[in-house]
Subunit: 328 residues, 2 copies
């Protein structure tokens, strides 16, 4: 019997989890839970049960870990504390500023239910955070850099779509190569927002919309675009579907630090991701941490945790002996 996983929410992330479970022989998908009418939802894998979220309490003893695949804006702040009382849970809560509050809410709930919750799992927060903590602990005298992309920003694409006259849009965040090169070269540059990333937008207009007005509105949008060098391309709907339907992403975390009695030696630690599918990679991280949550709960380690609190061995299906012999 494998670890029985439940998926709550069946968008891109939920679909990614469904696929990732197939790659992990020690896991099995127990059911997908949805707020929609279960009959309207067709899972990607055969014979997968789809259950209404209203029946989730009946699954208390049939799910080892529930992976919450909702959004950070409104779903997870409510769902994670709620379900952490009933299940071991994993979420990908990524509103950085609200993590402390979310952690406290989930911690209280998980302890009440004797469950283990791991929040903010994915790649940023997640793998990027891990690289920040390791690199900072090793090189206390140094400087951190995070670059994102090249990849699709869902939030920026949505912001463009809300503009009047825009039918559809995709926005790519692109790291500035020359800035990356300076960091890699150990120059420790101070970089402005504009110097780190550019933004490239592919926009489909509604009939009769004014391209100049739309372009101006995009480029002037505070927070999203005003502080960046932004390029806008107007393309047909066919072209958008043909060339911009994937959801790639990635990025770079670097720490540049000094050692030596007089700081005479420089070191660069760099971690990077190049992802064809942002949601599928995030899902794969969620599934690895589901294994950890299952094991930690078996050991009686309850409450809310983040990637910082989990020893790496808990993520691997291999035993300690195998890991030491094969991976150390």
């Amino acid at each position: 019997m494998g670890i029985k996983i439940g998926i709550l929410g069946y968008g891109n992330l939920g679909k990614g989890v469904e696929c990732a479970i197939l790659q992990n022989p020690d896991m099995e998908l127990a059911a997908i839970f949805t707020r929609r009418n279960p009959e309207t939802l067709t899972p990607r894998t055969k014979d997968t049960k789809v259950i209404s979220i209203s029946e989730v309490n009946n699954w208390k003893d049939k799910i080892d870990v529930m992976i919450l695949c909702g959004g950070s804006a409104t779903d997870l702040p409510e769902q994670t504390p709620k379900f952490a009382k009933i299940f071991n849970v994993i979420d990908s809560f990524d509103t950085h500023a609200k993590i402390p509050e979310h952690f406290n809410n989930v911690d209280r709930a998980a302890k009440e239910g004797n469950k283990t919750a791991i929040i903010s799992v994915g790649w940023d927060p997640g793998m990027f955070s891990l690289n920040r903590i390791y690199a900072n602990a090793i090189l206390p005298d140094g400087k951190d850099y995070t670059f994102w992309g090249k990849g699709v920003s869902q939030g920026h694409s949505d912001a463009i779509r809300r503009i009047k006259g825009v039918k559809d849009a995709k926005q790519y965040t692109i790291p500035v190569e020359s800035a990356l090169a300076k960091v890699r070269g150990g120059e420790n540059p101070d970089l402005t927002t504009r110097q780190k990333h550019t933004r490239e937008c592919f926009v489909v207009l509604e009939d009769g919309a004014d391209p100049a007005a739309v372009e101006h509105e995009i480029k002037a949008m505070p927070n999203y675009f005003a502080d960046y060098d932004t390029t806008v391309h107007f393309i047909s709907e066919e072209e958008l579907i043909k060339s911009h339907s994937k959801i790639p992403h990635g990025g770079f975390v670097l720490r540049s630090g000094k050692t030596g009695l007089h700081n005479e030696n420089s070191h660069i630690i760099e971690y990077s991701l190049k992802l064809d599918s942002n949601p599928e990679f995030t899902s794969s991280v969620l599934v690895a941490y589901a294994r950890a949550a299952y094991r930690l709960n078996k050991e009686g380690s309850i409450g809310c945790k983040t990637v910082f609190d989990i020893a790496p061995a808990y993520l691997s299906p291999k035993s300690g002996e195998e890991l030491r012999a094969q991976m150390l």
Copy 2:
């Protein structure tokens, strides 16, 4: 009062630990222990005590963590189990094939003394191992690649120095850029030893030695050079001292993996290090894990551990709250 660190062995690694402690305000150097006559040893930092290893038992209650800075060939297999009975210890044991045996010996000793030991700490084994375990857990369907360099290989430099007619030598291990590019491009190549690294040697000859004979002997040396494209440069002793006295190193750990219902999406995870000083960077990792050993022992978590068994938060001087607010 900071965490009281002892350094056992005062070579490049011990000197690196001495410097790294200065960068960590929660730590202090209690003493350096040496097999040499303590009077013959001058620490890099002022007022540092140097103690004969024969007196180490008197320091049982004055040291929180002893960092063992000896070599893997003969020092650590004997020292780590011996001192793990008396102190919390950290070592950088890097003979990959013998790690399981070393682990068992140290585990037995540490448990006997109620101490915490962390072995094989550094960057490979160490940070590279961490990246292998995380990447494998996230992308079970994938392929691992490790490239080393550009950097000085002490073992290969020593092998050249043992050749008759060679006065001194430095050997650089260099990753093959085109092979790295193929891996980054997601091609999943099968790479031979020769295709992954080249070796570049800078050799100072004894008076009257035959360069052609030395070059032939280097290039034909089994294991060390025969399987590689090797370049040999003969230079003066002055030039070797001037241009090849540093001990840089580094390397790349990559995992290329697939996700999706039909493996339709590719992902590349890459971790790389570019180090001016191999021993100082390794020392900095040792010191971060010393903090973990100290805390784990306080919690009653005894026995032998590796980097796989340590949650990242234990390495950082920051609290859980600070880490979640600042680094997640």
